[in-house]
Amino acid sequence: MITVNATMALTIAVLFATGFYLLLQRSLMRVLIGVVVLGHGTNLLLQLAGGPPAAPPILGTVPAEAIGDPLPQALALTAVVITFALTTFLLALGYRAFVLVGHDEVQDDIEDRRIGTQSLPTASLADPDDEVDEAADDDVESQAGR
């Protein structure tokens, strides 16, 4: 079992909080920054999982007992590479969304909205009023087109 120093724990908490907040935004650019920040938080956590700071794990430089645990560093390096790849992918996706629809915001699911409005009690079986449906459809379309 390892205990963590408070500064590091606080740093990780702030990184996670910021990351999750940004991840909940609609703009893909903010989501991207959120992923990067969250990735930093996770990697820091991985580093801390290896124990307190110690000498770099290079053979022959320091006595073996002073060496830090190299495995979390290898894991963090792999995670960094993966985050790097995903960051570039999200950048490309955001740019593609920007070219295609003029902005990079994640929008609502139109079909889901349509089904949701179908089940409203106003659209009752006894009085299949088309106007209600159409009004609902218009509502959905105006939502989608914003």
């Binding site: 770099p56 053979l59 390096l77 590479v81 790849a85 570039t88 950048l91 740019y95």
Partner: protein, 181 residues
């Protein structure tokens, strides 16, 4: 040949055109978005960074370095070049399509992983090789160096592909749309 004579041979507007192809060509951007200082610095730094990246690649097995860091340094050299000279400057050095570079890097790495199976050893095993060379002395290395070479090429390919699609591609799109890059 003195410096004065050479200056006369070169037309005034081409004084900064390099004689070697892999230097920045200097004919990339409109004059107002050009940063001369960065361009000149890149001419010196670019080959230096590439050599340093090879050094990192070779010493990687026992010292800090390796295919990934070497590839990243080499990739950064290309990024620097792109920033100084734009997509045009990049095309002057690299004529290979970046997916090919990326693919062959990964192929070398995977084949290195597969090769031990042929001699009945577990996949991804490595062997220690040592050769006695005249004058140089003992040269030794691990077969996993090949894996690092693959990773190196893979990273360089990935960075070049990035500069092509997200760098040059966007520049081109903006030019098509009539915006100044």
């Amino acid at each position: 040949m003195t410096a004065g004579q050479r200056d006369e041979q070169v037309p005034f507007d081409e004084w900064d055109v390099p004689r070697q192809g892999w230097w920045l060509s200097g004919e990339c951007r409109d004059s107002y978005s050009r940063t001369l200082l960065l361009e000149i610095a890149t001419r010196t730094l670019f080959p230096t960074m590439l050599v340093f990246s090879l050094y990192l690649l070779l010493v990687g097995h026992y010292s800090p370095g390796g295919g990934f860091s070497g590839g990243l340094v080499a990739g950064l050299a290309f990024v620097l070049r792109y920033m100084a000279g734009g997509a045009v400057g990049l095309g002057a050095v690299v004529t290979l399509r970046s997916p090919v570079l990326l693919g062959s890097g990964l192929m070398i790495a995977v084949l290195t992983g597969l090769a031990p199976l042929l001699v009945g050893a577990p996949a991804l095993s490595s062997a220690y090789l040592s050769v006695e060379l005249p004058l140089v002395g003992t040269v030794s290395s691990q077969t996993s160096l090949l894996l690092d070479v693959g990773v190196y090429l893979l990273i360089v390919g990935a960075v070049l592909d990035l500069l092509r699609s997200l760098g040059g591609g966007i520049e081109r799109d903006m030019q098509d749309a009539g915006e100044r890059p």
